[in-house]
Symmetry: C2
């Protein structure tokens, strides 16, 4: 086990890498802790939840909504959760987002920790304190920024993770490499997905590298005034199409990264579009897909990241160097339209 | 107009006493500001809302619930509110609580200011950053602590305030005097309600004194680890009966203060129960009423202020000096039972 500490504005987060879920009993008071997980994780790791009071959610982004929050709050009241209670979200990004949100608002805020069970949650979703729920087609429209007390990484939970979920997580790993870490981009070029799946040492190094990369970006700009925006690389278009099509988050972000790369070629003289496309495809992600460009532009303009009239788009100057660039919808639209019709 | 500034952990709050609602146009960008008010305030002051985009809520505590939050969020999305938008809650405590809560969670937090229109909101509800909604019979079960950017006091809004709402607010003024300000207790003894209603100078002094008293208590203990708990004087029992009976918040708190005074006599040698009872009655509030003591004890033990087994009760050593005292339900129950049957 490796431990790290990173201090944010109002909370120090403890990271336990390559740890075991059993460690939870040391980190919290089991008598006043409530685990929140989803039915998939619960079914696959049932024995690990013995002795813990556990609230089991339906699985999937469709349930990252207010109705789920309402139901969990009713259950917490029923179970007698109080101000000293701790919530632990064990699951993917949907579970950690919703658990973090509920912990922020229940009795005006109680303690929370996360045990991410997917690559996506390990390297991205569970880190940085952003939490929240979707409202209609708008992702994370309601939520907060509030750091958890701890993050516990138990790689044995990945054993049951389907291949498409590994692929899903690697979209964010590629994103991190693009905006901040050219050396990691090389490492990803030199290896392939199965190597990380088979070699726990290699995997642990990659997860730590990504978790700490994201944590440090967030630490320097917790409330997203500047550098943290880089983490939205691929997400502006990604979020605009994710809920309207049958796309995983990783697939949507992959498509979004290609659009952002094309915009970077147009407005930042970025020369490595092909390299990024190859990388995305190597890790089993889509680089191109047909989608409704007009609708995507509309959703993009209602996204919470929009400030009247202008979209702060994350572009690349080169692999490893992201830059936030204000673009007008008029500058974005032609390229989105072109990429939305890959077959034509 | 008098202005004051008080700096909290992550926000400086600007206070504008004896100001005019028109000043709002200086404090916010009218093009990106959304007023939230209720149908009573809107009907009485319709002209003041001309030129402002206004969301009008149904009036009353019954609407301080998630369904209202859901509806306002849908309207904000529809109206194109973005991260730079400002919400302004114009109303009583229900409106400022719900506006503050929505501003905290919409797009992970946007700017908010309050224009309290009742005595209760002016001296208490709009101050201190606590916001939230009720869940079933549990008051403020869900919410946050987050300070507004400004508080604007326009006493002309009080013209339409019914007498019972004046009385309602004076419960919190009496509470402030009890826990922190023996001189104000004297001032209240020497005057009566109609004097404050008629004399704007006297009223402005009283409102400022109370707003600043509460603000300073909160400033020293924003996240309620210690002194801020004093502000719960009368509220432990008050909250436990308020939603179960046809009681105003002030009436519930008045009854709660008498119970707390009786507990203070029992456990703190408090000698001024009669003085407090007279004061409560002088300002038109009830000192005694019949209620279900068993149910009240149950709700009290589910209150979010409870930490397993013990209730942190605010007692008085003397008028002007409140103290937080941990009491067991067994210590509280006999006195609650006695006072719940005033006629026997």
């Amino acid at each position: 086990m490796t431990t790290k500490k990173i201090t944010f504005s109002s909370q120090t987060v403890n990271y336990y890498f390559d740890a075991s879920l059993d460690k939870l009993a040391e980190l919290t008071n089991p008598d006043n802790t409530f685990i929140i997980t989803d039915e998939n994780v619960f079914a696959k790791h049932k024995r690990k939840f013995t002795n813990w009071r556990t609230i089991v959610l339906k699985a999937g982004e469709a349930y990252k909504v207010q109705a789920t929050v309402d139901s969990v709050i009713d259950q917490l009241i029923e179970l007698g959760a109080d101000r000293k209670s701790c919530l632990v979200g064990v699951g993917g990004g949907v579970v950690t987002d919703i658990t973090g949100y509920i912990a922020s608002i229940y009795m005006r805020g109680i303690q929370v920790g996360f045990v991410p069970t997917t690559i996506l949650a390990m390297v991205d979703a569970s880190i940085g304190g952003k939490n929240g729920i979707d409202v209609g087609i708008y992702k994370n429209m309601v939520g907060l920024i509030r750091q958890p007390s701890f993050l516990l990484y138990d790689y044995s939970l990945l054993k049951s993770l389907p291949k498409e979920e590994w692929v899903n997580g690697f979209a964010e790993i590629i994103k991190h490499a693009c905006i901040k870490d050219a050396a990691m981009f090389k490492l990803l070029e030199e290896n392939k997905l199965t190597a990380f799946q088979k070699d726990k040492v290699l995997l642990n190094q990659l997860i730590q590298r990504n978790a700490l990369l994201k944590s440090k970006v967030v630490q320097q700009d917790e409330f997203e005034q500047g550098d943290r925006k880089l983490l939205n690389f691929g997400h502006t278009l990604g979020h605009a199409i994710e809920n309207s099509y049958e796309l995983s988050h990783g697939q949507a972000v992959a498509l979004g990264m290609v659009v952002a790369a094309a915009l970077s070629a147009e407005y930042k003289k970025f020369k490595e579009v092909e390299k990024l496309v190859s990388m995305i495809q190597k890790y089993g992600l889509p680089a191109f897909a047909e989608f409704d460009a007009v609708k995507a532009m509309q959703v993009m303009q209602s996204d919470k990241k929009r400030v009247k009239g202008v979209i702060h788009y994350v572009l690349l100057e080169k692999i490893g160097k992201g830059v936030v660039t204000p673009l007008t919808p008029q500058q974005i639209e032609p390229i989105v339209k072109k990429l939305a019709q890959p077959s034509k």
